[in-house]
Amino acid sequence: MSQDSSPASLERPTPEDLRERAALDRSTKLPVLFFLTSGLVWLLAACLLGLVASIKLHSPGFLDWDWLNWLNWGRLQPAAFNALVYGWAFQAAFAVGLWMMARLCRQPLRNPVTLVVAGHFWNLGVTIGLLNILAGNQGPGELLEFGRPAWLMMFAAFALIVIWQVLMFVTRPKGADYVTQWYVLAASFWFPWLFLTASVFTSPRTGSGLHAALTSSWYANGVLFLFLVPMAVGTAYYLIPKIVGRPVHSYPLAVAGFWSLALFGGWTGLQKLIGGPLPTWMPAVSSAAQVLLLIPVLCVGANHFLTARGRHELVAVSPTLRFVFAGAVFYVASHVVAALLALAPGLTQFTAAWDGFRFMLVYSYFSMTMFGAIYFILPRLTGCEWLSPGMIRIHFWANIYGGSPIGVFLIIGGFFQANAMNVWSHGFGALSDMLSGAYVAATLGWIFILFANTVFFLHFVLIALRLGRRSERATLLSGPAHLDDADVMITTEGAEA
């Protein structure tokens, strides 16, 4: 398809545009830096907790002292995953979403301080929730373990944070329209709905524990596929055209990808309860929807691939594009795995495969995409460039060598686990022997990503403190720098017509 038939426009920024952008970035700087910094601290905490949890699976005696009873696996595992999701992933999504929305809607943020206040409440909520889990007081239900007091606070904070993005969109000038905005707005629409539904229907007063369990499994899937996924897809839609200097390949494909996610996403979640005490059609519908979620993946994946066609070598050059590209690989992989889990419950249900899949989606896909965005955004906020391509390379490769095996080994291990569990005479001792290989591999992976993110955090802090390189040229991974870092204008003007 030629550029002409695509309605997306792409222009070099004029000096006026550049001035406008600088003003926009200045308005979002404070909250964006706040969310990124606190998000990264939670990421390190999650890696640490995840590492200990992983070790305990193959060496149960590890750190098993009386005074450390709050680190027992039943508490550690949800603590690590909730910290990863609500501490890191949500805050990264807030930061990147806010920044992109200001840029795309050409609206400065008028209340940066409100956002920082709301951000403190969010962090307070996450802290209370985690302490609640570690104190042996977790709530039932996947991703609902924080318990009610923490949720209330987090929900209020969430509302205060995303309302500004909606307002920016409402007040945007004519023509400032782009795909990314749909995804950010949709995620801000879906999450509160999911969350309120979960709060109401998992309340102990509803009178049906079975319904509470069903709602919670719908919610947990929704957090992944209707909040994290759209935020990361929107981010990729923003970054890829910027870096390769080309408009989004196809507008119809973008529309199809977006609406197919909207159409199927809400039906997923109950496939986890296959074989459980629900009418069989319910998990069956969810399984089908989970498989159909491959359609948006196909649309979005093809669109991104074609947008970057002929310029794929930039993956070797641009840190942002490299992380986004790695994320895209896991975007496809995690959706394929999710479809397999839905199709073969007897081979996966209740096993480590589910953990592997969740990790792949939240870390290898979502987080890698966010890292890419941070590499793009931070220099624009602070006015200085990343110090060291070496540190970026370490961050990338340690994440690839560390993050991928966690997902892959747990998924494969899960298949074996299910197989063994289906034979009633198979003892649990033999089972745990069999799985320990996968668990040891996962532990090594956690060590790698803990290292990767420590390096990244140091690098991040240096740039945030404006100790980076003062230069007009972006830090690239390989020279000669043939990447023209123009930060082009992207819109889908006229797309409505």
Binding site: Q77, G139, F201, L210, W218, G266, W267, V423
Partner: protein, 240 residues
């Protein structure tokens, strides 16, 4: 795309699954109530299905969730088309099989979770399914010892010890009948004893009551119990 068309589109696409998967089933699930066995219909059992839970058991379940047991233990017996559950739960999963008589078990029914504020279906099977966990140990004491030190029975066990639910104290007068590990590797030492807290006792009450062996009433699709001398006549009524 304008905000209005975006919102309308999102509303239409999301309301459908929300109404059909979440809101609509609520009515029928919340109105489930215990069902009386009916002798005329062929039920051999008397009373109601499922058996009611005591307040201790309900507290025990709270502790079960709060301590994260449901992270590793499920309570659901799946039909054959999903896993091998149907068969394996007749026996003790992963144990020496011969010593134990097969238990009467069946696929889990929605009624099995009546009275729970959150159905303990569970998240993983790192440990054995506990739908019939009450049969696993013969005595309360064995449950308590498992809670205190799962590794005493299986060295490789990743079941986390719950020692914080116990107290080590000086024996005053008669040793407590509840005390665990008065001898062996885990014994607390001369003159001391390890006693369970009320939380541990509630939790064990709950675990002991995990016995889903009450037959499904025929009105709910339960099978007629086989007559003593199996007359291979009419097949069991099709489950509905």
């Amino acid at each position: 795309m304008s905000l209005k068309s975006l919102l309308l589109g999102l509303l239409a696409t999301f309301a459908a699954p929300w109404l059909l998967l979440i809101v609509r089933p609520y009515g029928s699930l919340a109105s489930l109530a215990p069902v009386a066995y009916n002798e005329e219909a062929g039920d051999e059992t008397k009373g109601f299905f499922p058996p009611t839970r005591s307040a201790d058991q309900a507290r025990g379940q709270q502790i079960y969730f709060a301590q994260g047991c449901a992270q590793c233990h499920t309570q659901v017996i799946r039909p054959q088309y999903v896993g091998g559950d149907g068969d394996e739960f007749k026996r003790n999963w992963g144990e020496a099989q011969e010593a134990l008589a097969p238990k009467r078990t069946r696929q889990t029914s929605p009624y099995d979770y009546l009275g729970e504020s959150f159905a303990a279906i569970g998240q993983r099977r790192n440990g054995p399914d506990l739908a019939n966990g009450g049969f696993r140990f013969a005595t309360r004491q064995q449950f308590l010892e498992h809670l205190y030190a799962p590794q005493a029975r299986h060295e490789w066990s990743s079941c986390p010890p719950q020692r914080h639910l116990f107290k080590t104290r000086v024996i005053q007068g008669q040793p407590s009948r509840m005390a665990v590990f008065s001898q062996g590797k885990y014994a607390p030492g001369e003159g001391l004893e390890i006693v369970p807290s009320t939380e541990a006792l509630d939790l064990v009450d709950y675990l002991l009551a995990l016995r889903r062996n009450a037959p499904l009433p025929i009105s709910l699709g339960g099978e007629k119990p086989a007559p003593a001398a199996p007359a291979a006549s009419a097949p069991a009524a099709p489950a509905k």
